[in-house]
Symmetry: C2
Subunit: 575 residues, 2 copies
């Protein structure tokens, strides 16, 4: 509502809007839009219903026989409520919210709930401010869960630290729905005060708290849920999901680029359990978004695996809306937002048209989206995030004996392989480097890595979970420096160096994490970088950038490289 | 939370509480209470689960193996979440919230959502203040929906009128959940501004709006729901309920004293529809409460009629909690309130023990309840509601020709029988009188009535929907005056007069609607009054007080008697 109006004026305005809705619903006035001859998914009675759908002021007002100023005949198709992604880090798409929205609207997505965890690790609340500004007025509603674990570990050298006092100011924003995935479950179950405080603050605002507790079970799970964690998206077996569901958590069935749990969790997509479930992607990378889709891809896969189509669409739309108390979303009924995905049928589930608040934003060819204007002060915060000296080979500890980290194909878990005394491409022993880039500390962590496969040159990225320092892996110190220094010059990106030259790159100027370019262009540049990386020897089954980006995340076993050296996750010590 | 504390202090306090919950859940400390060897209803997975239930600070923290400072062995029994009544007018029990709570705790009720519509018609916001004070700290949580239609009709001479500005101040009270049954559906669908404003205000506070729209269908139902009405408790056929459910309303299946819809709505108690349904009683009279029960009686009846017991208990507990966003109620799981009904089994559904916030409030014999202290200023408002002159026979228009209202046994609908010219007990033509009692206007409405059956004397009551003036029906003007004047002296009640003397009475000193006496005593007095009334000739199938009390409610066809004369509901005019 317009803040310049008095309360009484706002009530009068809303009352006039309602009066118009009533007149249209009664058939006394024409609707703004009518979808004629619709066959639509009724999530309440779990069936297909038929009728014209009348829309006024962006809201559905009636189903039956209606006429409208604009009429769209949808006979022969299926109208579903627009899809919701219950948990995503938009940064993982490598594009801005604007480019993301343009990419997912054709897949029927009309709402996403994002956790701006990555950019908050770089820019703190400035990153949250940016994401909020950059997601205003898009054809996809972007709601926020506030990052709960920034930094991921207390010793991490990230850009900013967020306490409950930092996030507290954001709970009153109308698009903030709660506290994002509470990854620090060891903190919760050990009763850590500063961790539990964040939950208490979110509850004091009557907001949701999402969970992240892979494999947690028994008393520890009871303790974690008791503390106030209402959902989980880390279930990879039906047994673990069922335990969490029985103890009251909502289950977000995750199908992202890195982790895909739908197949294991198919027994949840049955009448007994489905009302406690929703879909999420967590992380979606450009190629995957472009070529497989978004929530629609999960719907297709679930139906292919045998789930009931109506139930599946309800899980994809209504259930997340109910969980997040988005009470006018996720259904086609009077009073609900006119967010629709028009599908060809319930087998192929191809999205043919998309309506957002009663406006056609995708007609099978073009996507309607206006780019948000962002305050220059906010923009400058996310555009100036590289503060580090130029990297020189002297910092890279040539020839020293250092720990050796072992990569495992198709996994982000690593092994402790003891030590090595130098790079040896013949034995696949390479140098791994993490350069602190937020506060010009000059800290550089170095170790050896086995399993990456590179035979020459170096690869670097400013995406390195969760602190997003610059990470690089290479054969020669010269190429490592070239790759890292190019990222410094670009103020973010992914680079491939060979023979002392950068031979491929993807600039990521927003926080060093993503760009405002269209997804298609980003995908092309990224695929080019990947091709170069594989040409230079990177092992099949290892994603040259994604696998590397997780080698600095100190919550996954066994060894991790930080700006301060190698951390042994099993022993919780620096080596 | 304690208002005297700073925000930071409150967060610190809640954090310490959570830390204790975590320690108990982890098994590191003893719980306050453990229900040992429980078989409990899991509303999430819709099954019976087994384990000890650990409780700390009134909240469940874990299910499994636990030990506690207090342990109660519940082996062989079924632990269900406490029951919720989704819609009731507490005044209809004829007792105060304290006496009501004592009466329903043994039936497993732990939460009711009340609409203080009756007392608001008498005392306005003073009546709401009283109900809030009088329901503090009871073993049954009393939540409020704010009366939406006071008075019922614009011309009604009730005690106070409530505009949106009057109710607006109450939305911030933690026990206020929204706007109560919007009975004025003609106002909504005709776009009446002052009616729609109340919905807009409730929505601005993110609150619920309950409906009341018997038989509404098609475009008119779309319009009513579009305006923002989320539920209905007036469905008496599966077809009407299904139309409302399909259009997004939650269905409250009503089983009260006057209206019983469960049998007709049994098809809703199936997996496809049950998640959109809950139970309510609307009105429960003393005899019915004492001898049949409360929500437990609905559960028993549903199971007897073939509903699945687990699903039925979920409808009786979890679903209303979810609808009203009482997110820590209606389930047995970590973080939920320890509100339990311990049942003998799932066939007989006899309540054997009841726990409220982890305290045993009913052990099969005694009920634990502390009487709330009520501010004398608030008490004086509801104790001084009779402002009318003494009634004399000269006001009763002896021998005049006046309209004749026809009663129908077992119905509150009346017929227009033309006119009569005098009382004639032989032909069952009696005098019906309504005396304005709020503002000393001296208005007295008089007409004749057929079908009541009284052969001598008179009967009077200060319960007369919805304005609650004094209503009386009698053979002689002398007895009518005696019965009415005794109510005036008692400051509220029900009276039976015979031969110029009051021969039976039930004092109702709170707003003229109810009393603070125990339900058993009230029931005894009321049954005594009824016996007298039947002895004096009242027709079988007519409730001497309830049937009479509805003859003044101008929203039910055909004739109604007001303080200003006979109103023709069909023609919307005074005769």
């Amino acid at each position: 509502m317009d803040e310049s109006k008095t309360r009484a004026e706002r009530i009068a305005l809303k009352t006039r809007r309602k009066q118009r809705m009533v007149r249209v619903a009664m058939g006394q006035e024409k609707a703004d839009l009518v979808l004629k001859n619709a066959t639509y998914v009724n999530v309440f009675s779990e069936e297909l219903c038929r009728g014209d759908i009348a829309v006024v002021g962006g809201l559905v007002v009636g189903m039956g026989e209606y006429s409208g100023l604009q009429e769209v005949d949808v006979s022969g198709r299926i109208v579903a409520p627009g899809f919701l992604d219950a948990h995503i880090h938009l940064e993982s798409s490598l594009v801005s919210p604007y480019s993301f929205a343009r990419a997912v609207v054709p897949h029927g997505t009309t709402t996403v709930i994002t956790d701006p965890h990555e950019i908050a690790n770089v820019c703190g609340v400035g990153g949250i401010d940016y994401m909020m500004s950059a997601s205003e007025g898009l054809p996809v509603d972007v709601h926020f869960m506030l990052p709960s674990c920034v930094p991921a570990m207390p010793f991490d050298e990230n850009g900013e630290r967020l306490t409950w006092r930092d996030i507290n100011a954001y709970f009153d924003h109308p698009r903030v729905l709660g506290l994002a995935e509470m990854m620090n479950y060891p903190g919760i179950i050990s009763g850590d005060r500063t961790t539990i405080e964040k939950i208490v603050v979110s509850q004091a605002h009557h907001k949701k708290i999402d969970g992240h507790a892979p494999g947690l079970s028994g008393h520890a799970l009871d303790a974690y849920i008791s503390a106030g964690v209402y959902s989980d998206h880390e279930c990879d077996s039906f047994e673990n999901a069922l335990e969490k569901l029985r103890k009251g958590q909502f289950i977000m069935i995750r199908e992202g680029t890195a982790a895909q749990n739908l197949e294991a969790l198919m027994p949840l997509l049955t009448p007994r359990y489905a009302s406690r479930c929703m879909f999420c992607t967590d992380d979606k990378h450009p190629y995957d978004l472009l070529h497989r889709g978004h929530i629609d891809a999960i719907v297709r896969k679930a139906i292919r695996l045998g789930a009931d189509p109506i139930l599946t669409i309800k899980v994809a739309s209504h259930n997340a809306a109910r969980y997040f108390l988005l009470n006018n979303k996720g259904a086609i009924a009077p009073g609900y937002l006119a967010d629709f995905a028009v599908l060809d049928d319930l087998e192929r589930v191809n999205v043919q048209m998309v309506f957002k608040r009663g406006v056609c934003v995708y007609d099978g060819r073009t996507v309607q989206a206006r780019e948000p204007e962002i305050d220059p002060d906010i923009l400058s915060v996310v555009s100036d995030t590289f503060h580090l000296p130029e990297l020189t080979p002297s910092r890279l500890r040539a020839g020293e004996t250092m720990p050796l980290m072992g990569l495992i194909p198709k996994s982000i878990v690593t092994r402790n392989l003891g030590t090595a005394s130098g790079v040896n491409p013949a034995e696949d022993i390479l140098k791994l480097v993490v350069c602190e880039r937020h506060h010009s500390t000059g800290h550089v962590g170095v170790c050896y890595v086995k399993g990456y496969g590179l035979k020459r040159g170096a690869i670097a990225a400013s995406i390195a979970h969760d602190s997003h320092n610059i990470i690089a892996c290479g054969v020669t110190d010269e190429d490592i420096c070239a790759a890292v220094n190019r990222i410094r010059a670009l103020r973010g990106g992914i680079t491939v160096a060979d023979g002392g030259q950068v031979v491929a790159e993807l600039p990521l100027p927003v926080g060093g994490l993503f760009t405002n370019e269209p997804l298609e262009k980003v995908n092309e540049q990224l695929e080019n970088c990947k091709r170069r990386a594989y040409d230079m020897g990177v092992t099949e089954g290892v994603d040259p950038f994604m696998t590397m980006s997780f080698t600095s995340l100190c919550v996954i076993p066994s060894l991790r490289l930080t700006t301060q050296g190698v951390f042994d996750v099993d022993g919780l010590t620096f080596l």
